[in-house]
C-alpha cells in the first residue's frame, strides 16, 4: 500500500487544506481504524451504565465489538465480544446483567472479566488447548482507565495514560460532573442512534463549526422566528424554539462572541452561544432557581458561580466523543465505513438536582440530537451531501484555512481562533490525525519536502 506511506500521508494534510481522499479512500479508512482507533484512548461508556457486578453494555472501538462490564471484583473491564472457540459474538444484547457470558454455539462460558469459566465436553479437545492461556478468553483490552466516571479503553498495551491524553480538555468532563450538586451524574433517558452516509470525521468537525448554523439551520430558524409564543406549550416546545431562534443569531455574533479553542491530540471546544438570560432564566424557570439553590447548598456560592459561569458549548474529545455540559448531552461517534457513520447520543442526569431539571435535558436532546429533530436533520442532510459530493474529484482539496494567519496561542499548549469562526479546530484535528497516522514521522517527512 505505497500510497499510505508516511510521506504520502503527510502530503495529504497541509496547513490550509486536506486531500479529499481522507473522506473517500477505503484504504485510508482501514488505516485510521488501525492507527487511530486501535491505538489511542477511545471512550467506551460511563460507570453509571455498569453499576452492579454483572452489568454490561455493548459498544464498539472502531469496527471491533466490545463489552464494558462490571466484574464481581468491583472493577470495570472492556472485553472483545468474541468467543475464543470459533469466533462468534458471545453477547447479543445491547446491555444487561449476567452471571456469566455463554456462547450460543458450543456453550463455552466466560466470567464477566472475560476469563474462561467452562468448556463443555472439555475432554474431547486436544491436549494443546491450554485453559490457562489468557488469550483463551473473551480477551481483555490491555488498558482501561476512568476519569470521573467516564471510561476509556485502548487496544494498545503502551501509550500515554488517560490524563495525559486528555490534558486540558479534562476540564470539560469536570464541567459535566461539577454541575451536579452531588458531584455525580448518570446516563438516563434513552439513546438516539442516528446514521448518515458520510465519513466519521465530518461529525466532529461540524460540532465545533460556528459558521454553519445560519445556512444549515435556515429552515428551523425561519420557522421558529415567527412562532406565536401564545400557543400552548408544556415547556418542551418552548425550549426547542428558543434553541432554534438562537441558532439564528446574527453573523456578527457567531463571528465574535462564541470563541473556539483547540488543544493537543485533536481535542477542542466551542464557547457557549447561550447565556442564561437567553435560554433557561429567560423562562423564569422556578426549577432552575431550585437547582441553583441546591448547588449553593452543596458547593457554596463561590463554587456555584464558577460552575455556572463556565459556559462551553460542544467539547470534542478526539476521535470519538462530542459532548455538551450545559444540557448534559454526550455523543459517541462510531465509524462504520469510509462513507457511513452512526452516532449514539446519551443524556446525563445530575444527581442532587431537582427532578424536573431532567425534563429540560430531554426537551433539549429532542431538538438538538433527535433523529426526528427540526435541527439535526439538516445537519444529517449536510453530511450526506458531503458524502455524495466529496468523491467527485472536481475539488481535489478541501479548505481548512479560515483564520490560519490569525490564530492565537493559548494556555495549556492550546490555540484559539481570533474569531469564533476560525477553522483552527479543523487544523488541530488534522494535526492529531497526521500524528496518529504516521506515528509521529509526518513532521520529518514534511520537513524533507
Amino acid at each position: 500500500m505505497p500510497e499510505n506511506r508516511s510521506e504520502t500521508l503527510a502530503r495529504l494534510v497541509q496547513p490550509d487544506r486536506v486531500h479529499r481522499s481522507l473522506y473517500t479512500d477505503p484504504a485510508i479508512f482501514a488505516l485510521e481504524m488501525e492507527r487511530i482507533f486501535e491505538r489511542t484512548w477511545i471512550y467506551v461508556g460511563h460507570e453509571s451504565q455498569v453499576k452492579n457486578p454483572g452489568d454490561f453494555v455493548a459498544t464498539r472501538i472502531g469496527l471491533k465489538p466490545v463489552l464494558l462490564t462490571r466484574h464481581s471484583d468491583g472493577r470495570v473491564y472492556v472485553l472483545h465480544n468474541q468467543c475464543a472457540h470459533r469466533g462468534a459474538q458471545v453477547v447479543a444484547d445491547a446491555s444487561g446483567n449476567a452471571q456469566e457470558f455463554r456462547c450460543c454455539y458450543h456453550g463455552w462460558s466466560y466470567h464477566t472479566d472475560g476469563r474462561i469459566k467452562n468448556i463443555p465436553l472439555r475432554h474431547g479437545y486436544s491436549s494443546r488447548l491450554d485453559v490457562s492461556d489468557p488469550k483463551l478468553a473473551m480477551v481483555q483490552l490491555p488498558r482501561v482507565e476512568s476519569y470521573r466516571g467516564f471510561v476509556f479503553a485502548s487496544l494498545a498495551a503502551d501509550g500515554p495514560p488517560l490524563k495525559a491524553f486528555l490534558g486540558h480538555i479534562a476540564t470539560s468532563l469536570d464541567d459535566m460532573v461539577d454541575r451536579a450538586p452531588d458531584n455525580e451524574i448518570e446516563i438516563a433517558g434513552g439513546v438516539f442512534k442516528h446514521t448518515y452516509n458520510g465519513n466519521w470525521k465530518l461529525y466532529l468537525e461540524n460540532l465545533l463549526d460556528a459558521a454553519h448554523p445560519l445556512f444549515v439551520h435556515h429552515s428551523s430558524i425561519e420557522a421558529a422566528k415567527v412562532q406565536d409564543d401564545a400557543v400552548p406549550s408544556d415547556g418542551s416546545g418552548e425550549i426547542a424554539i428558543r434553541q432554534m431562534r438562537q441558532n439564528g443569531a446574527s453573523y456578527g455574533f457567531w463571528e465574535s462572541q462564541v470563541g473556539i479553542w483547540a488543544y493537543p491530540n485533536g481535542h477542542g471546544y466551542i464557547g457557549d452561544y447561550h447565556d442564561d438570560a437567553k435560554l433557561v432564566a429567560a423562562m423564569n424557570d422556578p426549577v432552575f432557581r431550585d437547582y441553583i439553590a441546591a448547588l449553593e447548598a452543596k458547593k457554596g456560592k463561590a463554587e456555584t458561580k464558577r460552575v455556572l459561569e463556565l459556559r462551553r458549548w460542544n467539547t470534542n474529545i478526539y476521535p470519538n466523543v462530542s459532548f455538551m455540559s450545559q444540557f448534559q448531552q454526550f455523543r459517541v461517534v462510531h465509524p462504520i465505513a469510509v462513507d457511513r457513520t452512526v452516532v449514539y447520543t446519551y443524556n446525563f442526569r445530575l444527581k442532587g438536582a431537582p427532578e424536573k431539571m431532567f425534563r429540560n435535558t430531554i426537551a433539549f436532546a429532542n431538538v438538538v440530537n433527535g433523529t426526528g429533530s427540526l435541527v439535526l436533520t439538516d445537519d444529517l442532510e449536510t453530511y450526506d451531501r458531503i458524502g455524495a459530493g466529496v468523491g467527485s474529484g472536481g475539488a481535489e482539496w478541501l479548505q481548512i484555512g479560515r483564520g490560519l494567519d490569525t490564530d492565537i496561542p493559548d494556555a495549556h499548549d492550546g490555540r484559539r481562533g481570533k474569531n469564533s469562526t476560525s477553522e483552527v479546530y479543523l487544523r488541530n484535528m488534522f494535526d492529531a490525525w497526521l500524528g496518529y497516522m504516521t506515528a509521529g514521522k509526518a513532521g520529518l517527512a514534511a520537513a524533507a519536502e
Binding site: 438516563a188 433517558g189 434513552g190 439513546v191 438516539f192 442512534k193 442516528h194 446514521t195 448518515y196 452516509n197 444549515v216 435556515h218 429552515s219 428551523s220 425561519e222 420557522a223 421558529a224 415567527v226 412562532q227 406565536d228 409564543d229 400557543v231 400552548p232 406549550s233 408544556d234 415547556g235 418542551s236 416546545g237 418552548e238 426547542a240 424554539i241 432554534m244 452512526v342 443524556n347 431532567f358 425534563r359 430531554i362 426537551a363 436532546a365 429532542n366 440530537n369 433527535g370 433523529t371 426526528g372 427540526l374 439535526l376 436533520t377 439538516d378 444529517l380 442532510e381 449536510t382 451531501r385
Partner: protein, 171 residues
C-alpha cells in the same frame, strides 16, 4: 323533548363511536400527509394537542425519555411551518410517501371522545432510496363543532430503537 332526552340526544350527537366516520377521518388524515398538505394536517389537531413518536418500545413518558419526535402544539406548528419552507435542505429533494391505515379498533369511549388504535405502513421514497416504516397509531379523537379533531397522536414504530437516518416527514 324532555331535558333527559335532550341530553341523551346531545350525548349521542357528540359521541365518537361510528367506525365508518373514524376510518374515514384516519384515511383523510393519511391522504393529507401523503399529499404534503401539512397546514391542513395541522388543522386536524386541537389547540392543545400533542404529537409523539417514542424512541423506545412501550415508552411511558415523553418527559423522562427522549423521543424521535415529541411536539406540544407550539412545536408542532413550528414543525409544520418548517416542512412548508421553501429552503429545507433535509427535504431537497422532497420525499414522496404513501400511507396505509388499517385494523382500526376503538379502545376506549368517553363522552365526546375516543381512543382509537390502528395499524399503518408508510413507504417513503427520496433520492433513489425507499424506506418502509410500520407500526401502530394511537389517536385520541374528540368531537369539536360537529366534526372530529385529534387531541393527541402517538406513533409506535416497530423499529423505533433502530439506528436510523434522519426523520423529517411525519408518520
Amino acid at each position: 323533548m324532555s331535558t333527559v332526552a335532550n341530553l341523551a340526544a346531545g350525548a349521542a350527537a357528540n359521541a365518537v363511536a361510528d367506525p365508518r366516520e373514524i376510518e374515514a377521518f384516519l384515511t383523510h388524515e393519511a391522504a393529507l400527509l401523503d399529499e404534503a398538505r401539512y397546514d391542513e394536517w395541522l388543522a386536524l389537531f386541537t389547540a392543545d394537542a400533542w404529537y409523539w413518536v417514542p424512541s423506545q418500545v412501550g415508552q411511558r413518558d415523553p418527559f423522562d425519555t427522549i423521543s424521535l419526535m415529541y411536539d406540544d402544539r407550539r412545536l408542532l406548528e413550528t414543525r409544520v411551518r418548517r416542512l412548508m419552507q421553501g429552503v429545507l435542505h433535509a427535504q431537497t429533494p422532497r420525499s414522496a410517501a404513501s400511507r396505509q391505515v388499517t385494523n382500526v379498533v376503538i379502545l376506549e369511549r368517553q363522552p365526546g371522545a375516543a381512543l382509537v388504535r390502528s395499524k399503518f405502513t408508510m413507504a417513503e421514497y427520496r433520492r433513489n432510496a425507499q424506506r418502509v416504516f410500520a407500526g401502530t397509531y394511537l389517536h385520541r379523537l374528540v368531537r369539536v363543532d360537529g366534526g372530529l379533531k385529534i387531541a393527541s397522536k402517538r406513533v409506535n414504530l416497530v423499529n423505533c430503537e433502530a439506528e436510523l437516518e434522519g426523520l423529517v416527514v411525519p408518520f
